[in-house]
Symmetry: C2
Subunit: 493 residues, 2 copies
Amino acid sequence: MSAYDELMSYTRETEALGAIMGRLSWDQETMMPRGAAEQRGEEMAALEGVLHARRTDPKIGAWLEAIDASVLGEVGLAKLRHIRRSYERNTKVPAKLAAEIARVTSVAQGTWAEARARDDFAHFAPTFKEVVRLRREEAAALQEGTDFDLWDALHQDYEPGSTGAELDAMFGALRPRLVALRDKIMGADQPKGLSGTFDETKQMALTEGLAAAFGYDFAHGRVDKAVHPFSSGSGLDVRITTRTNPEDPLNSIYSTIHETGHACYEQNISRDYLLTPLGEGVSMGVHESQSRIFENQLGRSRAFTEYLYGQMRDTFGEIGVDSAEAFYAAVNRVTPGYIRTESDEVQYNLHVLLRFDLERQIIGGALEIDDLPEAWDTRFEADFGVKVDKVSNGCLQDVHWPVGLFGYFPTYSLGNVYAGCLHKALRAEMSDLDAQMAKGDTSKATRWLAENLQQFGGLREPRDTIVHACGFEPTEAPLLDYLEEKFAGIYGF
Amino acid sequence: MSAYDELMSYTRETEALGAIMGRLSWDQETMMPRGAAEQRGEEMAALEGVLHARRTDPKIGAWLEAIDASVLGEVGLAKLRHIRRSYERNTKVPAKLAAEIARVTSVAQGTWAEARARDDFAHFAPTFKEVVRLRREEAAALQEGTDFDLWDALHQDYEPGSTGAELDAMFGALRPRLVALRDKIMGADQPKGLSGTFDETKQMALTEGLAAAFGYDFAHGRVDKAVHPFSSGSGLDVRITTRTNPEDPLNSIYSTIHETGHACYEQNISRDYLLTPLGEGVSMGVHESQSRIFENQLGRSRAFTEYLYGQMRDTFGEIGVDSAEAFYAAVNRVTPGYIRTESDEVQYNLHVLLRFDLERQIIGGALEIDDLPEAWDTRFEADFGVKVDKVSNGCLQDVHWPVGLFGYFPTYSLGNVYAGCLHKALRAEMSDLDAQMAKGDTSKATRWLAENLQQFGGLREPRDTIVHACGFEPTEAPLLDYLEEKFAGIYGF
């Protein structure tokens, strides 16, 4: 076997073991008996140990050196790029530091949950500082030999090739127009929301039908209930979860369509890439573009909500609104709120931009953890016009930072910006999209995404993946234009 | 760290990885989408590779040599015994042979299923011969440096310390009395069976209640549906499966009680042994003793069926029999049949003894595969008084041999013999057992098993585990006495 073939065979086994880890996480959130957590923790730590040893094995370095890249085509080069990036990333961080981060962030999650429940920032502050100190140390190790700043170095794990400076420019353009749009909406009359009680078994049946309508392949997946909706797995086994609330069917519906977007991306990657480094969504931002375009630009469109309104009435009878138009307004309501995960298309990005700016300061060393609550509250009031009432509604609301996820948040907004671009490109090619969507037929839109983006998996770099699909360089303009037009229509200004 | 501590730490990680393999098998049989099989196969093969490398790592040999066993207590010595046995077993078999066996038996399962469906022994014969050839080769490797014959060498994987000669003596005593009992029963009037249609959702609810009644801990387990009932996992996460048939609620009920026996054994092992070599049931025979005593001596007893009759009537209304006495007879009916898995307490062991005798001849080289169907049919007619009508009702009925499981079958009957002994010991200590069981209260009986047997896991050798619990050397007499008395009562002779 050539060095290339040996490396590919080795990598394939590592990918297979990595897939097992994903399956264990899924089981933990859906099926695992509550008393099994301690044992499961040991099982996953043992597998993590195996994976880390494989991913840092010096054999990989030797193969990478021995391979003659000049004979490889696009696919081979792309695989090498992923493998080299992973190997360099994992070998840069000392094993002791990696283990320390795993240990501290695992404990931190519990302490954070306590602090959030008690609204007591001081309870979490010492642990929080330790998490930041360790991640900054890791960032310094990752930064070696690159042009990245500390935040960029962490951000590469989620969005390879992207930098804080580029994002700053893009998101800087988003913020004023989003704040202005938000203010206009808050000054207008609110449409009515849904009302009633919505049977949870019927919600599950409806959402499974919606997943199928958006192209989710149940021969290679399944839908279960979990505390938090998520999508899990790649290739031939991609599972999603949802939750139901008898008073709020829209949560279940739109979180399912969102996760279906993630899952269809994974399911539609070329089978040729199965269990290779190209066999997964290429970045968090590109992944989020798929979930967001499914959920928002398609799922919350005037056309699709017309179909969904019929489904809702057939399923539940009276739902508190009595026309497709009123239902469209209800699913797109923008209401004040502190919490990112409960937010809408307009305010969501403002929540993310706030976090992006603050975390760059934290990792850059310009903002101390002790000063975070005040910095958060000041910025929140500037963007949302509301004073934060308590720290659980402020900087303790998200699990990301407590478990060390710095550099992750902006991928949510990058996904929205990318979704805006993809939606523009899709509309330009499909004049009859609305007519199909109004019948509940998403197939042309989802096929366009599968053919122009999803099938390629990790073949191209994240931004190039979007450029290839859209035919133009991504900017924030399509998203902003879409939002302004849509909400002007709904709120009548 | 001492060599002992290092070995224990290493073994613990291997145990944790082994537990993951069990979880993947469970998922495959219960949750996995049908299109995921190919990917799952690669995942499990990758993990199997990791496990095999760990179990044969020369480090283990070095640690075993370096350890001063004279300072160890009973628990430490028991752990070493398990580790040494596993290491010697796994290093004796050349990696190439192990891989060949894995490859051939995996293909063989498919070919066997085809041959069985077509009733075509010749279709499977070439593969069957290859399986036997490879397992005999493995047996020869395992036999090195021991006093075992070839069959014994394979049998050690399932029942360490047991030999064909010992089993031959024990089972030789079973056979004539079982054949005589069977003949008497077949000459008597048959009691009525159940009739009606039994809602499958209600069956699931009833069986989950029965699992709980027998002490199954749902905080460390769960019940799902699968094609074949099984128990899976050890320690803090032990799951069981069942199946339902709208025409036959007894299948679901008694397979659930059976699997609950297996599962309670695993759940009740001392937490001190979690993820150590002592943290699993000690052998297949001892395991089967727990499932069988739950299912038969307890679950099919006159006392417990009185309680169950009430449950059945409350759940399903009319069930085709109208007294507890008639229900007791119905759940213990002995009817002619070719299939082991559909058999009853009396005939089951005859099915097993037939397989035990034939497989010893096959592995010993005294019986050629081409002569197997005739040998099977001749023996079947001698023990069951019926001519085998087709090979799918004969030597192609079980999956065991096709996938290379030689040396396994007799553990089923050994489990029955052990269950007979445990039942005798339990009765001797508990005069009010029937009064409790008639109220559906199994707690005294199951606690006795937990305290006297299950908690010890792999601490003692299999036979010693039984001796410790019973207080006497196991023989076939208690089982035979119990069966003769029970069925004389039911069939009135």
